[in-house]
């Protein structure tokens, strides 16, 4: 299966569709986080090492926190997104679609130890390529999933044109296709609109812009406008 879409049923009885993220964007997000941590730790080290041996101790504690707890804190407190994941539009969630919990996040991040083996996330990468939902070993143990964050959609209404009643009866799928065409029409160039409308001369009984207008009119009628 090439499709990474997973459906999760919520307690409300509706299905959430989640798009699991592949290894490439996740590696990129990790690289962003890694670079960021490197820069911050480096800047702190310059500051702290001026404080002598006590500063060295603090530096080691900071290093420890950044290495083990940076991802956990961000994932739980910032809606499943470290800075790198946010930049790449990714989010960690529990496999049932709920926000990732403390224990799950701790497990998936501690398990990086194993995913990192034998070098540069070798095990994690192979596991992610094999698993249909792109989970590395840590995700499997923690029961978590990394998904793409969908951009918020605003529903674009189909253009309000005079209603046209089609000459032949159409089934539900065909009606849905016409409505989808009308709703997306604003995002298409006029040339592309005409090109698409010209596929259906027998339905619209016209070609070119007239055909487009007739299809839009039919969409209005299917949507229930008067």
């Amino acid at each position: 299966m090439l499709d990474t879409l997973t459906q999760v049923e919520t307690p409300e009885g509706t299905a959430l569709r989640l798009r699991a993220a592949g290894m490439l964007p996740r590696a990129a997000a990790w690289a962003v986080d890694f670079g960021l941590r490197l820069v911050i730790v480096w800047m702190l080290s310059v500051l702290l090492l001026m404080l002598g041996e006590a500063g060295m101790g603090l530096y080691l504690i900071v290093l420890f926190l950044f290495f083990w707890f940076y991802p956990v804190l961000f994932e739980v407190l910032r809606d499943g997104q470290t800075i790198g994941k946010k930049a790449l539009g990714l989010r960690v969630i529990n496999a049932n679609g709920t926000p990732v919990t403390w224990l799950a996040s701790i497990v998936r991040n501690l398990m990086r130890t194993v995913d990192m083996l034998p070098a540069v996330y070798g095990f994690g990468f192979v596991a992610g390529l094999i698993d249909p939902r792109g989970r590395r070993l840590g995700d499997m143990v923690a029961g978590t999933l990394v998904v793409h964050v969908e951009k918020p959609h605003q529903h674009i209404a189909a253009p309000n044109v005079p209603v046209v009643h089609p000459a032949m009866a159409l089934n539900a799928d065909e009606k849905a296709a016409i409505i989808a065409f009308a709703e997306r029409a604003q995002q298409l160039t006029p040339e592309r609109q005409r090109e698409l409308a010209d596929i259906l001369p027998m339905l619209s009984d016209a070609r070119g812009s007239a055909g487009v207008q007739r299809l839009l009119g039919m969409a209005s009628s299917f949507l229930g406008r008067r």
Binding site: E12, T14, L16, G57, W68, T98, L110, V114, I179, A180
Partner: protein, 333 residues
């Protein structure tokens, strides 16, 4: 109902949810007051969210346009993330975790814990005993520079060192112990996922090395400064490594012998248990690092105090692990 009518009936509800999610979906800390008067719409949110779940189901069933379904799906997904957000950790949960849940969990996993303790303490004690009988074996374990380094750290004739340090270097060593020991604890746990092999390896090798150092220093007559240094933090540190190892072993066992569960299910369950165990071990290791850096390093303290504190530490921690949370009706894990 045609789509246009449906939209005109319900669009205000969708806009209201969208508005609420934007404003109150993740309120900033200072805005996080309870919404008793209902001005922010927090009280209506669950009902509104569930209505829109129904709208989504209707829209899909009636074959409304893909864009409309996408918008409703987006609202439902965002609402879902807010409604099922994990609660913030409460102080009393943390206290009851350490007082009761963690020790009970350690006892509930007694098989893994026993195996881990055997894998760690048997090589450790064997090494100590062996090096008293055949001290020259130390040279087949460590090379000359390593031995020289251990010896210089605990040399009883060197009055300046005797592990009495400046406070600045105490903080440094605290940082070092945290970074080093806690990371070892975490890795001992995580590497159990490799069919237990990683945890077994870390436990046995640490047992051998620690036993080797202790045995060697005792055999050459440096025992007193060594034991008075380590006795204070030995209990939390060694037991935490054993618990991390046990947590790793039970993950590995979930993979090897999942029983009547699927492997995936068994792994997730073992992962939650392991995370709780490792959290407890983490606290123990931080405590051990604190003791090691700020108590064990005090040079002038008489031996009697050092050893009695170390002994009571063992007693208290073992008692805590064996008795903590007993009599709680609460079922854990």
């Amino acid at each position: 109902m045609k789509q246009e009518l449906f939209q005109s009936h319900h669009a205000h509800e969708w806009d209201a949810l969208e508005q609420w999610l934007t404003v109150r979906g993740r309120p900033r800390h200072r805005d996080r007051a309870r919404d008793g008067e209902g001005v922010n719409g927090d009280l209506e949110f669950p009902a509104l969210y569930r209505r829109i779940c129904q709208h989504l189901a209707l829209a899909e069933r009636r074959g409304y346009s893909a864009l409309l379904i996408e918008r409703l799906h987006d609202l439902v997904h965002r609402g879902h993330l807010v409604l099922y957000r994990p609660p913030p950790p409460h102080m009393h949960r943390i206290v009851s975790f350490f007082a009761a849940d963690f020790p009970s969990l350690v006892r509930a996993q007694w098989r893994a814990m026993t195996v881990a303790a055997v894998l760690f303490f048997v090589p450790l004690l064997l090494m100590i005993g062996l090096l008293q009988w055949r001290p020259e074996l130390a040279h087949s374990m460590f090379d000359v520079e390593q031995l020289a380094q251990f010896e210089s750290m605990y040399d009883p004739s060197d009055k300046d060192k005797r592990l009495g340090r400046e406070s600045g270097s105490d903080v440094m060593m605290f940082g070092y112990y945290i970074m080093n020991n806690v990371s070892i604890g975490f890795r001992t746990f995580a590497s159990g996922l490799l069919f237990c092999v990683g945890s077994i390896f870390v436990l046995v090798s640490n047992g051998l090395v620690i036993g080797g150092v202790a045995g060697h220093l005792t055999a050459i007559g440096y025992g007193e400064p060594f034991w008075r240094f380590v006795v204070g933090h030995s209990a939390p540190e060694l037991l935490a490594i054993v618990i991390s190892g046990g947590a790793g072993l039970q993950i590995g066992m979930a993979l090897i012998a999942p029983g009547r569960r699927s492997r995936g299910r068994a792994l997730v369950e073992a992962g939650i248990i392991g995370a709780k165990l490792v959290l407890g071990a983490f606290a123990m290791l931080v405590f051990a690092a604190f003791v090691e850096a700020f108590w064990s390093s005090i040079g002038w303290m008489p031996n009697a105090i050092k050893f009695s504190v170390g002994g009571s530490m063992w007693l208290l921690i073992v008692l805590w692990l064996l008795r903590g949370g007993k009599g709680n009706a609460q079922v854990i894990a």
